[in-house]
Protein backbone atom coordinates (compact mmCIF):
# COMPACT_ATOMS: atom_id res chain seq x y z
CA UNK A 1 0.00 0.00 0.00
CA UNK A 2 1.33 3.46 -0.83
CA UNK A 3 1.85 6.01 1.93
CA UNK A 4 -1.09 8.06 0.70
CA UNK A 5 -3.42 5.07 0.77
CA UNK A 6 -2.12 3.89 4.13
CA UNK A 7 -2.59 7.32 5.71
CA UNK A 8 -6.10 7.68 4.40
CA UNK A 9 -7.08 4.24 5.66
CA UNK A 10 -5.47 4.87 9.07
CA UNK A 11 -7.39 8.09 9.65
CA UNK A 12 -10.65 6.25 9.12
CA UNK A 13 -11.09 6.57 5.38
CA UNK A 14 -12.15 9.53 3.29
CA UNK A 15 -15.59 9.63 4.90
CA UNK A 16 -13.95 10.50 8.22
CA UNK A 17 -11.92 13.41 6.85
CA UNK A 18 -13.68 16.74 7.36
CA UNK A 19 -10.76 18.68 5.93
CA UNK A 20 -7.07 18.41 5.18
CA UNK A 21 -4.57 21.26 5.28
CA UNK A 22 -0.82 21.39 5.69
CA UNK A 23 1.87 23.64 7.00
CA UNK A 24 5.57 23.29 6.34
CA UNK A 25 6.07 20.28 8.55
CA UNK A 26 2.72 18.58 8.98
CA UNK A 27 -0.35 17.22 7.35
CA UNK A 28 -3.30 18.49 9.37
CA UNK A 29 -6.40 16.36 9.30
CA UNK A 30 -9.65 17.52 10.78
CA UNK A 31 -11.61 14.37 11.45
CA UNK A 32 -15.27 13.78 12.14
CA UNK A 33 -14.34 11.09 14.64
CA UNK A 34 -10.74 11.27 15.92
CA UNK A 35 -11.31 7.94 17.73
CA UNK A 36 -11.21 6.12 14.39
CA UNK A 37 -7.48 6.79 13.94
CA UNK A 38 -5.38 3.65 13.79
CA UNK A 39 -2.35 5.08 15.58
CA UNK A 40 -0.36 1.83 15.43
CA UNK A 41 -0.76 1.60 11.65
CA UNK A 42 0.47 5.18 11.21
CA UNK A 43 3.38 4.79 13.61
CA UNK A 44 4.43 1.66 11.73
CA UNK A 45 5.05 3.63 8.53
CA UNK A 46 8.77 4.42 8.20
CA UNK A 47 7.96 7.70 6.39
CA UNK A 48 6.17 9.08 9.44
CA UNK A 49 8.23 11.07 11.94
CA UNK A 50 5.44 11.57 14.43
CA UNK A 51 1.63 11.63 14.42
CA UNK A 52 -0.31 13.33 17.19
CA UNK A 53 -3.69 14.75 18.10
CA UNK A 54 -3.43 18.44 18.94
CA UNK A 55 -5.38 21.67 18.46
CA UNK A 56 -8.41 19.69 17.36
CA UNK A 57 -6.44 18.19 14.50
CA UNK A 58 -4.66 14.95 13.77
CA UNK A 59 -1.21 16.09 12.70
CA UNK A 60 1.27 13.95 10.83
CA UNK A 61 4.90 14.94 10.25
CA UNK A 62 6.72 13.13 7.45
CA UNK A 63 10.41 12.58 6.97
CA UNK A 64 10.17 14.02 3.48
CA UNK A 65 7.82 14.46 0.56
CA UNK A 66 5.21 16.45 2.46
CA UNK A 67 3.97 18.41 -0.56
CA UNK A 68 3.67 15.34 -2.80
CA UNK A 69 1.87 13.36 -0.13
CA UNK A 70 -0.48 16.25 0.52
CA UNK A 71 -1.26 16.51 -3.19
CA UNK A 72 -1.83 12.75 -3.39
CA UNK A 73 -4.22 12.84 -0.47
CA UNK A 74 -6.03 15.85 -1.88
CA UNK A 75 -6.61 13.93 -5.11
CA UNK A 76 -8.06 10.95 -3.26
CA UNK A 77 -10.27 13.19 -1.13
CA UNK A 78 -11.70 15.05 -4.10
Amino acid sequence: MTLVEALLEAVGGRANVASLTRCWARLRFELHDPELVDQAAIDARPEVVIAVHQHGQFQVALRSGLLETFDGLTDLLR
Binding site: C23, H55, R63
Partner: protein, 321 residues
Protein backbone atom coordinates in the same frame (compact mmCIF):
# COMPACT_ATOMS: atom_id res chain seq x y z
CA UNK B 1 11.25 47.60 20.72
CA UNK B 2 8.39 45.71 22.27
CA UNK B 3 4.95 46.87 21.32
CA UNK B 4 3.64 47.30 24.81
CA UNK B 5 4.73 47.06 28.37
CA UNK B 6 4.01 44.26 30.76
CA UNK B 7 1.72 45.26 33.53
CA UNK B 8 0.32 41.88 34.25
CA UNK B 9 1.72 40.19 37.31
CA UNK B 10 2.51 36.63 36.34
CA UNK B 11 1.06 35.06 39.37
CA UNK B 12 -0.66 31.74 39.34
CA UNK B 13 1.43 30.40 36.52
CA UNK B 14 2.64 26.90 36.98
CA UNK B 15 4.99 26.99 34.06
CA UNK B 16 7.68 29.31 32.91
CA UNK B 17 8.52 30.99 36.19
CA UNK B 18 12.12 30.13 35.56
CA UNK B 19 12.20 32.79 32.86
CA UNK B 20 12.89 36.24 34.23
CA UNK B 21 9.68 38.21 34.42
CA UNK B 22 11.33 41.34 33.12
CA UNK B 23 12.13 39.48 29.91
CA UNK B 24 8.63 38.22 29.33
CA UNK B 25 7.49 40.13 26.30
CA UNK B 26 3.83 39.74 27.10
CA UNK B 27 1.84 41.30 24.29
CA UNK B 28 -0.50 44.07 25.09
CA UNK B 29 -1.07 45.77 28.35
CA UNK B 30 -3.87 45.14 30.73
CA UNK B 31 -5.59 48.05 29.11
CA UNK B 32 -5.78 51.71 29.81
CA UNK B 33 -7.41 53.03 32.91
CA UNK B 34 -11.11 52.50 32.63
CA UNK B 35 -10.89 50.33 29.53
CA UNK B 36 -13.26 47.40 29.78
CA UNK B 37 -13.37 44.08 28.00
CA UNK B 38 -16.55 42.05 27.67
CA UNK B 39 -16.94 38.36 27.01
CA UNK B 40 -17.88 37.42 23.44
CA UNK B 41 -17.37 33.70 23.80
CA UNK B 42 -16.11 31.35 26.47
CA UNK B 43 -13.81 28.68 25.06
CA UNK B 44 -13.17 27.02 28.40
CA UNK B 45 -12.46 27.88 32.02
CA UNK B 46 -9.17 29.56 31.18
CA UNK B 47 -9.61 30.93 27.67
CA UNK B 48 -12.10 33.60 26.64
CA UNK B 49 -12.73 35.64 23.51
CA UNK B 50 -13.31 39.23 24.55
CA UNK B 51 -14.11 42.53 22.87
CA UNK B 52 -12.78 45.84 24.15
CA UNK B 53 -14.46 49.27 24.12
CA UNK B 54 -13.11 49.90 20.61
CA UNK B 55 -14.67 46.73 19.28
CA UNK B 56 -11.31 44.96 18.93
CA UNK B 57 -11.35 41.22 19.59
CA UNK B 58 -8.84 39.64 21.94
CA UNK B 59 -8.21 36.13 23.12
CA UNK B 60 -7.52 36.24 26.83
CA UNK B 61 -5.83 33.59 28.90
CA UNK B 62 -6.05 33.45 32.67
CA UNK B 63 -6.77 30.89 35.29
CA UNK B 64 -10.52 30.59 35.85
CA UNK B 65 -11.19 33.53 33.53
CA UNK B 66 -14.06 31.78 31.76
CA UNK B 67 -15.52 30.03 34.75
CA UNK B 68 -19.27 30.73 34.99
CA UNK B 69 -18.95 33.63 32.57
CA UNK B 70 -21.57 34.38 29.93
CA UNK B 71 -21.33 36.53 26.79
CA UNK B 72 -21.66 40.20 27.66
CA UNK B 73 -20.14 39.86 31.12
CA UNK B 74 -17.30 42.18 32.09
CA UNK B 75 -13.93 40.42 32.29
CA UNK B 76 -11.85 40.77 35.42
CA UNK B 77 -8.65 42.09 33.86
CA UNK B 78 -6.71 41.41 37.03
CA UNK B 79 -6.92 37.74 36.19
CA UNK B 80 -5.66 38.04 32.61
CA UNK B 81 -2.21 36.52 32.23
CA UNK B 82 -1.87 36.75 28.48
CA UNK B 83 -3.70 38.40 25.64
CA UNK B 84 -3.52 37.58 21.93
CA UNK B 85 -4.84 39.55 18.99
CA UNK B 86 -6.46 37.47 16.24
CA UNK B 87 -5.55 38.34 12.65
CA UNK B 88 -6.10 36.78 9.26
CA UNK B 89 -5.70 33.04 9.34
CA UNK B 90 -4.96 33.19 13.06
CA UNK B 91 -8.59 33.10 14.06
CA UNK B 92 -9.77 33.34 17.67
CA UNK B 93 -10.63 29.64 17.51
CA UNK B 94 -7.15 28.73 16.42
CA UNK B 95 -5.54 30.86 19.11
CA UNK B 96 -7.87 29.44 21.73
CA UNK B 97 -7.17 25.83 20.74
CA UNK B 98 -3.53 26.72 20.70
CA UNK B 99 -3.04 28.54 24.01
CA UNK B 100 -5.02 25.88 25.74
CA UNK B 101 -2.70 23.09 24.64
CA UNK B 102 0.73 24.57 24.14
CA UNK B 103 2.91 24.90 27.23
CA UNK B 104 3.11 28.54 28.22
CA UNK B 105 6.88 28.21 28.42
CA UNK B 106 6.92 27.45 24.68
CA UNK B 107 4.90 30.58 23.94
CA UNK B 108 7.26 32.63 26.07
CA UNK B 109 10.29 31.15 24.35
CA UNK B 110 8.77 32.05 20.98
CA UNK B 111 8.15 35.60 22.18
CA UNK B 112 11.84 35.91 22.82
CA UNK B 113 12.59 34.56 19.37
CA UNK B 114 10.21 37.12 17.86
CA UNK B 115 11.85 39.91 19.88
CA UNK B 116 15.27 38.78 18.68
CA UNK B 117 14.07 38.63 15.08
CA UNK B 118 12.55 42.10 15.33
CA UNK B 119 15.86 43.50 16.59
CA UNK B 120 17.77 41.85 13.77
CA UNK B 121 15.35 42.17 10.86
CA UNK B 122 13.13 45.12 11.68
CA UNK B 123 9.70 46.13 12.83
CA UNK B 124 7.85 44.15 10.15
CA UNK B 125 8.34 41.10 12.38
CA UNK B 126 5.17 41.60 14.37
CA UNK B 127 2.94 39.68 16.74
CA UNK B 128 1.34 38.01 13.72
CA UNK B 129 4.29 35.65 13.67
CA UNK B 130 3.92 34.58 17.26
CA UNK B 131 1.19 31.96 17.13
CA UNK B 132 2.19 30.16 13.94
CA UNK B 133 5.83 30.16 14.99
CA UNK B 134 5.08 28.99 18.52
CA UNK B 135 2.95 26.25 17.01
CA UNK B 136 5.90 25.13 14.94
CA UNK B 137 8.54 25.51 17.64
CA UNK B 138 6.50 23.73 20.26
CA UNK B 139 5.97 20.85 17.88
CA UNK B 140 9.69 20.72 17.09
CA UNK B 141 10.48 20.57 20.82
CA UNK B 142 7.93 17.82 21.23
CA UNK B 143 9.43 15.86 18.38
CA UNK B 144 12.89 16.26 19.87
CA UNK B 145 11.64 15.15 23.30
CA UNK B 146 10.10 12.04 21.79
CA UNK B 147 13.21 11.26 19.80
CA UNK B 148 11.43 11.63 16.46
CA UNK B 149 13.66 11.83 13.41
CA UNK B 150 14.62 14.85 11.37
CA UNK B 151 12.35 16.30 8.74
CA UNK B 152 13.48 17.10 5.25
CA UNK B 153 11.60 20.30 4.55
CA UNK B 154 10.40 21.32 1.13
CA UNK B 155 12.42 24.14 -0.52
CA UNK B 156 15.22 23.65 1.98
CA UNK B 157 17.90 24.68 -0.47
CA UNK B 158 15.97 27.69 -1.77
CA UNK B 159 15.36 29.04 1.71
CA UNK B 160 19.07 28.91 2.49
CA UNK B 161 20.17 30.61 -0.69
CA UNK B 162 17.36 33.16 -1.05
CA UNK B 163 16.85 34.30 2.53
CA UNK B 164 20.29 34.26 4.21
CA UNK B 165 19.43 37.02 6.70
CA UNK B 166 16.38 35.14 7.98
CA UNK B 167 18.29 31.86 8.11
CA UNK B 168 21.02 33.54 10.19
CA UNK B 169 18.42 34.80 12.66
CA UNK B 170 16.73 31.40 12.70
CA UNK B 171 20.05 29.81 13.64
CA UNK B 172 20.45 32.34 16.43
CA UNK B 173 16.99 31.32 17.55
CA UNK B 174 18.12 27.68 17.66
CA UNK B 175 21.00 28.79 19.90
CA UNK B 176 18.51 30.59 22.12
CA UNK B 177 16.40 27.43 22.34
CA UNK B 178 19.49 25.41 23.24
CA UNK B 179 20.48 27.90 25.93
CA UNK B 180 16.98 28.09 27.40
CA UNK B 181 15.99 24.45 27.15
CA UNK B 182 19.17 22.49 26.82
CA UNK B 183 17.76 21.04 23.59
CA UNK B 184 19.78 21.40 20.42
CA UNK B 185 17.29 21.21 17.58
CA UNK B 186 18.71 19.98 14.26
CA UNK B 187 20.08 22.73 12.02
CA UNK B 188 17.43 21.93 9.41
CA UNK B 189 14.86 23.44 11.82
CA UNK B 190 16.23 26.84 10.83
CA UNK B 191 14.38 26.41 7.52
CA UNK B 192 10.79 26.65 8.76
CA UNK B 193 11.70 29.32 11.30
CA UNK B 194 13.28 31.39 8.51
CA UNK B 195 10.17 30.94 6.37
CA UNK B 196 8.00 32.27 9.18
CA UNK B 197 10.30 35.30 9.39
CA UNK B 198 10.13 35.88 5.64
CA UNK B 199 6.39 35.52 5.85
CA UNK B 200 6.28 38.30 8.45
CA UNK B 201 6.55 40.87 5.67
CA UNK B 202 3.11 39.87 4.43
CA UNK B 203 1.50 40.14 7.83
CA UNK B 204 -0.39 36.92 7.16
CA UNK B 205 -0.34 33.89 9.38
CA UNK B 206 -0.30 31.25 6.71
CA UNK B 207 2.81 30.53 4.74
CA UNK B 208 1.28 30.01 1.33
CA UNK B 209 2.33 33.37 -0.15
CA UNK B 210 5.88 32.92 1.03
CA UNK B 211 5.95 29.42 -0.42
CA UNK B 212 4.64 30.63 -3.78
CA UNK B 213 7.15 33.45 -3.76
CA UNK B 214 10.02 31.09 -2.96
CA UNK B 215 9.07 28.73 -5.77
CA UNK B 216 8.78 31.67 -8.12
CA UNK B 217 12.19 33.10 -7.21
CA UNK B 218 13.71 29.72 -7.98
CA UNK B 219 11.95 29.55 -11.35
CA UNK B 220 12.91 33.06 -12.36
CA UNK B 221 16.57 32.40 -11.63
CA UNK B 222 16.33 29.17 -13.63
CA UNK B 223 14.75 31.07 -16.54
CA UNK B 224 17.57 33.61 -16.61
CA UNK B 225 20.20 30.89 -16.39
CA UNK B 226 18.75 28.96 -19.30
CA UNK B 227 17.98 31.97 -21.51
CA UNK B 228 21.47 33.40 -21.19
CA UNK B 229 23.36 30.15 -20.70
CA UNK B 230 24.97 31.49 -17.54
CA UNK B 231 25.37 30.22 -14.03
CA UNK B 232 24.14 32.62 -11.40
CA UNK B 233 25.92 32.73 -8.08
CA UNK B 234 23.13 32.50 -5.53
CA UNK B 235 25.30 34.01 -2.85
CA UNK B 236 26.10 37.15 -4.83
CA UNK B 237 25.06 40.67 -3.93
CA UNK B 238 23.19 40.99 -7.23
CA UNK B 239 21.02 37.98 -6.44
CA UNK B 240 20.37 39.34 -2.95
CA UNK B 241 19.25 42.67 -4.46
CA UNK B 242 17.06 40.92 -6.99
CA UNK B 243 15.47 38.75 -4.32
CA UNK B 244 14.81 41.83 -2.19
CA UNK B 245 13.23 43.54 -5.19
CA UNK B 246 10.96 40.57 -5.89
CA UNK B 247 9.96 40.38 -2.25
CA UNK B 248 8.84 43.99 -2.31
CA UNK B 249 7.13 43.40 -5.63
CA UNK B 250 5.10 40.68 -3.91
CA UNK B 251 4.21 43.01 -1.07
CA UNK B 252 3.20 45.75 -3.55
CA UNK B 253 1.06 43.45 -5.63
CA UNK B 254 -0.70 42.00 -2.63
CA UNK B 255 -1.37 45.47 -1.29
CA UNK B 256 -2.54 46.67 -4.72
CA UNK B 257 0.15 49.36 -4.78
CA UNK B 258 1.94 50.57 -7.86
CA UNK B 259 5.41 51.89 -8.43
CA UNK B 260 5.60 55.55 -9.35
CA UNK B 261 5.54 55.89 -13.11
CA UNK B 262 8.92 56.06 -14.77
CA UNK B 263 9.43 58.40 -17.74
CA UNK B 264 9.03 56.87 -21.18
CA UNK B 265 12.62 57.85 -22.10
CA UNK B 266 13.92 55.43 -19.49
CA UNK B 267 11.86 52.59 -20.90
CA UNK B 268 13.04 53.45 -24.40
CA UNK B 269 16.66 53.71 -23.29
CA UNK B 270 16.72 50.36 -21.56
CA UNK B 271 14.73 48.67 -24.31
CA UNK B 272 17.27 49.76 -26.88
CA UNK B 273 20.36 49.16 -24.71
CA UNK B 274 19.28 45.75 -23.39
CA UNK B 275 16.55 44.39 -25.67
CA UNK B 276 17.02 40.77 -24.60
CA UNK B 277 16.85 41.54 -20.91
CA UNK B 278 13.83 43.77 -21.47
CA UNK B 279 12.11 40.87 -23.23
CA UNK B 280 13.07 38.46 -20.44
CA UNK B 281 11.61 40.87 -17.90
CA UNK B 282 8.40 40.91 -19.93
CA UNK B 283 8.29 37.12 -19.78
CA UNK B 284 8.77 37.19 -16.01
CA UNK B 285 5.94 39.72 -15.81
CA UNK B 286 3.70 37.40 -17.84
CA UNK B 287 4.60 34.50 -15.56
CA UNK B 288 3.60 36.60 -12.53
CA UNK B 289 0.40 37.72 -14.21
CA UNK B 290 -0.58 34.18 -15.25
CA UNK B 291 0.21 32.58 -11.95
CA UNK B 292 -1.16 35.16 -9.56
CA UNK B 293 -3.61 37.08 -11.71
CA UNK B 294 -1.72 40.29 -11.18
CA UNK B 295 -1.60 43.31 -13.43
CA UNK B 296 2.15 43.82 -13.75
CA UNK B 297 2.83 47.36 -14.94
CA UNK B 298 5.48 48.40 -17.44
CA UNK B 299 7.23 50.21 -14.57
CA UNK B 300 7.63 46.88 -12.81
CA UNK B 301 8.96 45.39 -16.05
CA UNK B 302 11.53 48.17 -16.28
CA UNK B 303 12.90 47.39 -12.85
CA UNK B 304 12.88 43.67 -13.55
CA UNK B 305 14.82 44.33 -16.75
CA UNK B 306 17.45 46.27 -14.80
CA UNK B 307 17.83 43.40 -12.35
CA UNK B 308 18.02 40.80 -15.11
CA UNK B 309 20.75 42.88 -16.78
CA UNK B 310 22.77 43.07 -13.58
CA UNK B 311 22.44 39.33 -12.97
CA UNK B 312 23.50 38.48 -16.51
CA UNK B 313 26.44 40.92 -16.40
CA UNK B 314 27.61 39.59 -13.06
CA UNK B 315 27.35 36.00 -14.25
CA UNK B 316 29.28 36.74 -17.43
CA UNK B 317 31.95 38.72 -15.56
CA UNK B 318 32.24 35.95 -13.02
CA UNK B 319 32.98 33.49 -15.79
CA UNK B 320 29.88 31.52 -14.98
CA UNK B 321 29.33 30.28 -18.49
Amino acid sequence: MTTATVEVPLRGLDRGQALGQDRLGCRGSRGREGMGVKVLKVFNNNVVLGVDDHGAELVLLGRGLGFQMAPGAEIDLERVERRFVPSGATTPERIAAFVDEIPLADIELTERVVDLARQRLGGHVTENVLIPMADHLSFALRRAAEGAGEIEYPLQWEVHSLYPAEVAVAREALDLVAAERGVRLPDVEAVPLALHLVNAQFGAADLSTTVQMTELLREVIDIIESEYQVEIDEGSVDVARFVTHLRYLFVRQRAGKKLRETPEELHAALRSARPNEYTSAGRIGTLLADRFGWAVTTDEILYLALHVSRLVDAAVAGGGS
